[in-house]
């Protein structure tokens, strides 16, 4: 029997052409306002036919993006245990709050008298972030975590400048996030790698050997990218401070520490937070994020401007901080993301501690359930994430990449792979606190099946994924012959 088909209409995974392959000149999916003023002449040299963009109807656009969305995996689609990215559930009420017209339609240059509500929200958020971290002064301006790191390094730079002598180097442990060295070098610092110990954390000795009076300080990711708390941090802070240096803490993994650790108490001078991780603002498939920076009182004068000032219940923005590092964003950062984080903090309050406890419980649970199936290079109690490797699967020529691709066939987003660099073939699993025990058990079961397949039938893994809309991508071709526009 012949099966009749119409091209591009096989079930729900229809092929979706590129926008400009769909367009027909003369369509418009936009309601142009009525013209009520006369046309004016434009100087001849400024008159052009306009850009070459496709013309589509509203329904063309709606179907196009609805179909594209079908081929995307988000937290609402399924478990997303992407280590260090903290892909927790994003409460829907946060979206409602950020889209309130009073916030969404506010112009950033409105006078303070016309923007009290949003300034108060931002001021309260700063106060809450100070309480959560233990560091008393906060800027909300950085637009992403790495932007926060950069802000922190600029503060290092300004601080040492004010001490009368600039320093040249910054220490960066091998378990720090990949953005740290790039952020330090953007301020002209030479980065000095520090090896972590066989226990997966920084040793006091290693820092002692490298720290000198030409070193501006150290950038520690804590908990680090092995999912371990840097337990020697207090002693390390003393060594660095004794030589006149500062401690930067990359707080991207703060999801493990809310209500547990006071950053000022352990000697941290500067810390950034990722509102799009720890505080449940969605990441948007690439951003926007938001990376507030918290500092000690000693470093407060260097925070970027403008800053929110409160006086008797009235709020305003001020540029009047002569020692500030300056401005980092056209206006005040990603305010929409701040609203979502504020909404999350207000929904949970002191229960944020419970969030961290359960995030750590979930990670340890996965670690225990899977450590017989996958090699666990650092078999210690972990924080909010744990790191396995492909050491046992290598024997049948199965790699971390194969394992990740096979997980896609089971409907899970894979963990972060090949990171941290200190573990060869790393798989960094971060379940987050919003995954239920049933979902964790399902993930464990899928991973165990994959471990068995790797022993018994490795080809299944080499050919994975087979249930996604497209198969493995030719990344070499993309990089050798870059095609960035159509």
């Amino acid at each position: 029997m012949t099966e009749y088909t119409v091209p591009g209409t096989s079930g729900l995974t229809m092929n979706e052409p590129l926008l400009w392959e769909r367009g027909r000149e003369g369509r418009c999916g936009f309601s142009l306002p009525r013209r009520d003023v006369p046309e004016t002449e434009l100087p001849a040299e400024l008159e052009t036919p306009g850009p070459d963009l496709p013309d589509l109807s509203e329904l063309d656009v709606v179907r196009h993006y609805t179909r594209l969305s079908h081929w995307n995996f988000g937290v609402d689609t399924g478990s997303y245990p992407l280590g260090s990215c903290t892909m927790k559930y994003n409460p829907k009420t946060n979206e409602v709050q950020a889209s309130r017209p009073g916030f969404a339609q506010a112009h950033p240059l409105l006078p303070a008298s016309m923007s009290q509500g949003i300034l108060q929200l931002m001021h309260d958020l700063q106060t809450h972030l100070a309480e959560i971290t233990g560091l008393p002064h906060v800027t909300l301006q950085p637009a992403a975590g790495a932007h926060g790191e950069y802000t922190g390094m600029r503060i290092f730079y300004a601080y040492h400048q004010a001490q009368g002598r600039q320093r040249r180097k910054v220490l960066i442990p091998d378990t720090a996030h990949g953005t740290n060295p790039a952020s330090a070098s953007m301020c002209g610092y030479q980065t000095i790698p520090v090896k972590s110990s066989e226990k997966g954390v920084l040793s006091v000795q290693a820092v002692k050997e490298l720290m000198d009076e030409d070193t501006a300080g150290i950038m520690v990711t804590n908990p680090n990218t092995l999912g371990l708390f840097e337990q020697n941090i207090r002693e390390i802070a003393e060594i660095v401070h004794d030589k006149g240096g500062l401690i930067y803490c990359d707080g991207a993994n703060f999801n493990a520490l809310m209500g547990i650790v006071d950053m000022a108490q352990i000697g941290v001078d500067v810390l950034h937070l990722n509102l799009h991780k720890t505080f449940a603002a969605p990441h948007g498939g690439g951003g926007p994020g938001s990376g507030p920076v918290c500092v000690t009182s000693e470093l407060e004068p260097y925070l970027p401007v403008p800053r929110i000032i409160a006086d008797n219940g009235k709020y305003a923005l001020s540029d009047d901080f002569p020692d500030s590092i300056g401005r980092l964003h056209t206006f005040y950062g990603n305010v929409g993301v701040m609203i979502k984080a504020a909404s999350y903090i207000l929904s949970l309050g002191p229960d944020l501690k419970k969030v961290s406890q359960l995030a750590v419980l979930n990670a340890n649970y996965i670690k225990e359930q899977l450590k017989d199936s996958f090699y666990l290079p650092y078999d210690r109690q972990c924080m909010h994430e744990c790191v396995f490797s492909d050491a046992w699967q290598e024997k049948t020529k199965v790699s971390t990449l194969d394992i990740a691709k096979r997980l896609l066939d089971f409907g899970f987003h894979p963990p972060t792979i090949y990171f941290p660099l200190v573990v060869s073939g790393a798989m960094m699993v971060e379940p987050t606190e919003t995954e239920s025990k049933e979902d964790l058990d399902r993930f464990v079961q899928a991973m165990q099946i994959i471990a068995r397949e790797a022993r018994e039938n490795p080809d299944i893994l080499h050919q994975a994924p087979t249930k996604t809309k497209v198969g493995r991508m030719n990344e070499t071709m993309a990089a050798r012959n870059p095609c960035l526009t159509g």
């Binding site: 936009f30 994003n90 409105l110 108490q265 990441h283 401005r327 949970l348 493995r472």
Partner: protein, 443 residues
């Protein structure tokens, strides 16, 4: 707790599975002297209802701004956003995803960004685009850093003083620790950058903004010639990309890099962020681009697909030698901009840009007839400067009382221009709104 699924008995089961006696035990690797002893001093958890009323009260406590008729522009613009856009961008498959590290389950994000890169390149008339930057100001700062990477031996750049003052402040923050020199270029009597005095040959780049902070459309072709004669890269910035729906694109006028703010393209103003840093350049500089890029490729069956590519320039591989430290950018905003450009289309964008220009032109002429003077003769798009017979802050305060935010007094940024007001009129303003503005400003 509605976001936490664990029941008490599940917590107990899991604790025994990991060999811990209590939740507190999970933190035993953290020594006592690192532990916080007090509970978090935060307000009690709010129910969804309490949160709604709290947030609503704040959103309404914006003084008269919600009902005010505003003519503020200067880097953030009021444009009509189609309902379809809000609907599409609210699809959680887009907004609850991370950076597309696994292309097989991220084709939605990847194709959307590839399309954004294409539309951005076409709008700005250049060959390649990145997947977005934080905002217009950081895009300009990164463009200048990129020019300094390309011109290895040069350590100075020149900036027009008619570039948005906030953009120049951000550039200073970024360039200062590296010891790069910033040369300031004045503007001439017509409101456009005056490049005639620029004769240094040690510049890595020269940057102008068009339309500039005074709304004036720069002579980009002329500037390009001059800048290239000095062997420098020509960078053009913008705060209002809709202008290129009508005006010649930066690329067509000789720009090597065009960068700026894309908020106008369907993104809410949100008190200044999130917006969209746009960044386009020539193919020959592709490997110097900061930030992420998406490229087209094929899967193992030969199907078209998209991946993050040219990663060897990036922070997670090159670490301290990377072209920038950017990891998260403004992906969802870039997607919104593409949705917007697709909705308006090429023909629609030209008509919309015309309408913006005509609205502003109507207001400009009406204000001139009502006694304001027009200090700058250069052509403008949807923003322009008027000179008032008195102090602009005074006029601003008086208008604001009447519920009209008449624009931005320029004395805040430019000493000497205390009686100058920067006014923006987009397609959202009716003739009646414009007449109200004229009445309030000129009275």
């Amino acid at each position: 707790m509605r976001y936490l699924p664990h029941t008490d008995s599940e917590v107990q089961d899991m604790l025994s599975a990991v060999g811990a006696g209590s939740l507190e035990d999970l933190f035993s690797p953290i020594s006592k002297d690192c532990r916080r002893t007090s509970a978090l001093n935060l307000p009690d958890p709010m129910t969804e209802w309490e949160l709604d009323s709290h947030m609503q009260a704040l959103a309404e406590n914006m003084g008269p701004s919600q009902k005010a008729l505003s003519f503020l522009g200067a880097g953030s613009y009021d444009h009509h956003i189609p309902a379809s856009l809000k609907h599409l961008v609210s699809r959680s498959e887009f907004y609850t995803a991370y950076t597309p590290y696994q292309p097989e389950v991220s084709q939605g994000t990847l194709q959307a960004i590839f399309e954004y890169q294409t539309l951005a390149s076409r709008l700005l008339g250049l060959e390649v685009s990145n997947a977005s930057m934080y905002d217009g100001a950081s895009a300009l700062a990164e463009a200048l850093l990129m020019s300094l990477r390309i011109a290895k031996k040069k350590s100075a750049v020149a900036l027009s003083t008619a570039i948005h003052p906030h953009y120049r402040q951000v550039v200073r923050t970024y360039l200062q620790p590296m010891g790069f020199e910033i040369v300031e270029i004045p503007w001439g009597p017509d409101g456009r950058t005056d490049l005639s005095g620029l004769d240094r040959e040690d510049l890595a780049a020269v940057a102008v903004q068009s339309p500039n902070i005074f709304g004036c459309v720069e002579d980009l072709a002329g500037a390009s010639q001059k800048v290239h004669d000095l062997q420098a890269l020509f960078i053009t910035a913008f705060t209002e990309p809709l202008a290129y729906g009508l005006l010649p694109s930066p690329g067509s006028q000789g720009a090597d890099i065009a960068c700026g703010e894309g908020q106008s393209l369907g993104i809410a103003q949100s008190f200044g962020g999130p917006g969209l840093g746009m960044f386009c350049t020539l193919k020959k500089y592709m490997r110097n681009l900061p930030g992420r890029v998406v490229g087209q490729t094929q899967d193992d069956q030969g199907n078209r697909g998209f991946v993050l590519t040219l990663a060897t320039r990036e922070q997670h591989i090159r670490r301290e030698k990377a072209t920038s430290n950017i990891c998260s950018n403004q992906g969802l905003c870039a997607t919104m901009a593409a949705m917007y450009l697709a909705s308006v289309g090429g023909s629609g964008l030209r008509e919309l840009a015309r309408l913006n220009r005509d609205k502003a032109e109507y207001a400009k002429q009406a204000l001139a007839s009502a006694g304001c003077s027009l200090p700058f003769a250069a052509p403008t798009f949807n923003e322009f400067v008027v000179r008032l017979p008195r102090d602009a802050e005074e006029v601003f305060a008086r208008c604001a009382e009447q519920g009209v935010v008449p624009g931005l007094p320029l004395g805040r940024f430019y000493p000497g221009l205390e009686d100058h007001l920067l006014i923006c009129a987009t397609e959202t303003k009716s003739k009646q709104d414009l007449d109200t503005l004229v009445k309030e400003v000129a009275s």
